[in-house]
Assembly symmetry: C2
Homo-oligomer: 209 residues x 2
């Protein structure tokens, strides 16, 4: 199909499609004549994925490019694909940067304790450890150390959700499809969970008021 049809079917303006191609988010169409490119169903699917990452997931172009690169260089198992996805995603808003000056070692120790208590085996370099430690240090620096009493309940919720996530990702027959589903759902599932948390907060507050 020509770029006009790709635009109409995806709802994405042609100029935006060209921008995605320049940014390496979408493979170029095949040249048929000078100044004319032909796109196929794979482009349409990839375009939907790009929109999911950018618009629904709120990822940066750079992070989306890293996530999409995983699809073009597939992992050898769903577990390895998931590890790659977690690392690719950690570029966005997860780095502790200049967090509270002394909190980090103590907060990381707190994360290790939680993992040990739950029997969760997680590699030492997993980026979510630092993300969680930064969040803990932040809560403490703002005088909300009591929020850490919520960690166990949060971990229960996360574990229930993760079991369902893994069922979903490993359902399909092929490894490539399984990895694509894992990528998409890791990002989209975050949005689902935070949206539901907001809705539930509102509902609980209304019920209690």
């Amino acid at each position: 199909m020509r770029i006009g049809e790709l635009s109409a079917r995806s709802g994405v303006p042609a100029a935006t499609i060209k921008y995605y191609v320049r940014e390496g988010l979408l493979p170029p169409g095949s040249r048929t004549k000078a100044n004319q490119a032909e796109y196929d169903e794979a482009h349409l699917r990839r375009l939907r994925l790009v929109r999911a990452l950018l618009e629904v997931g709120g990822l940066s172009v750079a992070t989306s490019r890293r996530v999409i690169a995983i699809l073009d260089d597939p992992a050898t198992s769903p577990l390895k694909g998931m590890g790659k996805a977690h690392r690719a995603l950690s570029g966005d808003r997860l780095e502790p940067a200049a967090g509270p000056p002394d909190g980090d070692a103590a907060s990381l120790a707190r994360v290790d304790e939680l993992l040990a208590a739950r029997g969760w085996q997680v590699g030492a370099a997993h980026p979510a450890r630092a993300q969680l430690a930064a969040a803990i240090a932040t809560a403490e620096s703002l005088g909300m150390g009591d929020a850490l009493g919520l960690l166990d309940g949060y971990a229960d919720a996360a574990e229930a959700v993760a079991e369902a996530d893994l069922d979903l990702a490993t359902a399909p027959a092929t490894l490539d499809e399984s990895i694509e589903r894992m990528l998409v759902w890791t990002v989209v599932g975050d949005r689902v969970l935070t949206a539901l948390r907001r809705l539930a907060q509102e509902a609980v507050a209304v019920r209690r008021s």
Copy 2:
């Protein structure tokens, strides 16, 4: 204290502190002499909050400014403060933009069904409704309609977490403090939950492999 001490105590470079003042994230210090400003404990606290929103929460400067403005014009009840916070936060990465062309009405109906089934009373204009609808439409457009089977389990997790969130926010004595805690924890709690989800995904995948 002078800016050097504020920088040392917060771990934030002086140039960054000046940038936050220019961007309206931090009130200016009081002028003592030409070219010299004096900061106090309230500045230090606000600076930690700004870092929490930007670095841990991953919010944009514009969204952080909207969130902080709520503190300077406090709501009359925790419920109203929470509503303001949810709206302020929805500027970041939550808008559906050009989502899948036909999914929106059907997806919003799906959200309404879920809310009704759970007895959650949520205002029609709450931004998380559109966020959830966009996520649902995206999953469907990518051939992952089966992910919607996970919504109920996700909603269970979100409700458990929201009950704990409300307990935490309404614990303090004063309304101002309650609203600040609600703001901070809404943002930081999202990061805690997504970090724990990643860690749990890894742990579950390792256990199953």
